[in-house]
Subunit: 220 residues, 2 copies
C-alpha cells in the first residue's frame, strides 16, 4: 500500500493536478524523507561536511573557520559557521559552564552540525571543545568522510599575546575559573585530519591548508 502511494505521488509530479487531486485524506503512512542528502548535494554541487576546528581560546579558530567559509562561499559553495555567537545565545543559552553543561554544549553542536551536513552544507564549527570524547562523539555521529577535525595548534604564549578579550589575564588572576589551558585541561587531538600551526603559520597559510585538504579529498 505504501509503495503504491509513493508510486502514485511520483507519478503526480509529472502530472500535477492529476490523480493525486482525487486522493482524499486517508490512512497514510508516508513519513519518508523524499528528498535525500544526495539530492541536495547534487543541487549544491558539493559534499556536506563538518569542519570541526578545535584549539585553545584565542588560537584563531573562529578567524580561520570564518575565512574558510567565506572563501568557499565566494567560489559558489553554501557554507555556514556554527560558533559561540549563534549557538550560545540561542540553542545553548540554557547551558552554563559546568562539566555536564560543557559536554551537552558540544553534543548539541555535534547534532546540529549533523543536521546541517545532512542538508548538504559545508559547515564549520569553532569551539574550544577540549575533550577527546566529545569530539569523538561528533566524529561518530557524522560518519566517515563527513567529519574533518582541524586542530589549531597554538602555544599558550601565542594565545596570551593575542587574548583579545583579556581572558587569559582573568584566568591567571583567578577571576575566571576552569579556563582551558590555564586551569582546565585541553586534550590535543590524536589523529586530526588537519593540524594548523598558529605559532608559525599566517592566517592565510592556515586557510590555504584547509582549502588544499578539501580539494585533495574531493570535498570541494
Amino acid at each position: 500500500m505504501k509503495l503504491i502511494f509513493v508510486v502514485l505521488c511520483t507519478f503526480n509530479i509529472y502530472f500535477p493536478g492529476g490523480i493525486m487531486a482525487e486522493q482524499k485524506a486517508t490512512n497514510l503512512v508516508w513519513h519518508e524523507h523524499m528528498v535525500k542528502r544526495e539530492d541536495r548535494e547534487e543541487l549544491l554541487n558539493q559534499k556536506g561536511t563538518l569542519l570541526w576546528f578545535t584549539g585553545l581560546s584565542a588560537s584563531g579558530k573562529s578567524t580561520v573557520a570564518n575565512e574558510v567559509a567565506s572563501r568557499l562561499f565566494k567560489s559558489g559553495k553554501l557554507t555556514y559557521v556554527l560558533d559561540g555567537d549563534n549557538v550560545r545565545h540561542g540553542l545553548n543559552k540554557n547551558l552554563g559552564f559546568s562539566p555536564e553543561d560543557r559536554e551537552e554544549n558540544i553534543r548539541r553542536i555535534s547534532e546540529v552540525g549533523n543536521l546541517f551536513v545532512d542538508a548538504g552544507i559545508i559547515t564549520t564549527t569553532a569551539f574550544i571543545s577540549p575533550y577527546r570524547k566529545d569530539r569523538d562523539y561528533a566524529r561518530e555521529i557524522l560518519g566517515k568522510g563527513r567529519f574533518v577535525e582541524i586542530f589549531v595548534k597554538a602555544s599558550i604564549e601565542t594565545c596570551e599575546a593575542r587574548d583579545p578579550k583579556g581572558l587569559y589575564k582573568k584566568a591567571k588572576s583567578g577571576e575566571i575559573k576552569e579556563f582551558t589551558g590555564i586551569s582546565a585541561p585541553y586534550e590535543e587531538p590524536l589523529n586530526p585530519e588537519i593540524v594548523l600551526d598558529a605559532d608559525s603559520q599566517s592566517i592565510e597559510e592556515e586557510v590555504q591548508a584547509v582549502i588544499n585538504y578539501l580539494t585533495n579529498n574531493k570535498i570541494i
Copy 2:
C-alpha cells in the same frame, strides 16, 4: 584596527597570496560573520523561511511538510524537513515527554530552525507543538516574515480513522498518558498564516495551498 584588517582581507580576496601572506598571527579580533544571510539567499535564489506545521497526531503534518519540501526542491529550492525522525533521535534524544521536556523540545527545534533559516534554507517543521506559547517563541525569535505558522486542522475523528501507529487506541485505553487531543490539550493557533483543512482537503490541495501562500508572499 579592525576595520583596517577587514579591508586588508577584502583586498586579499582579489590578490590571493598577496599582502595577507605576510600577516603573521597577531592580536586579531575578527569574529564577524563575513558571509551574511542575504548573501546565502542570493546564492540560493530564495528566502530563508521556517514553515511551522502544527496539528494533532495523524493530522497529516509530516506528509504535507515533506511533500511541500519535495515540491519546492524539484523547482530548484534548497529545503529541509525537521521532524521527529531526525530531531528526536539526535539533538533531542535526551528529552522525554514531561511538560518541561516538551517545552525544551520545541524550544530547541525553534532555535535550530532559526539557524537553518539564517543559512538561507526553506525549512519545514512537523511537530504537534500543542502550546501557543511555544509556537509564539519560535515566531518571536524568527522575526517578521520568516515564520509561517501552518495549522493542519483535523477532527479527532479524521485522525483516529488514520492513526497509522495505533496511538489513539492506546491513548483511549490509557496505555499512553497525556496524549494530545485525548488526554492533553491542543491549543489551536489564533492567527496562523495558513489553515489547512485535513477533513475536507486532499493532501494535494493542502500542498498547493502552501505553495500558493509562498508564491503570493514572494518567499519563492
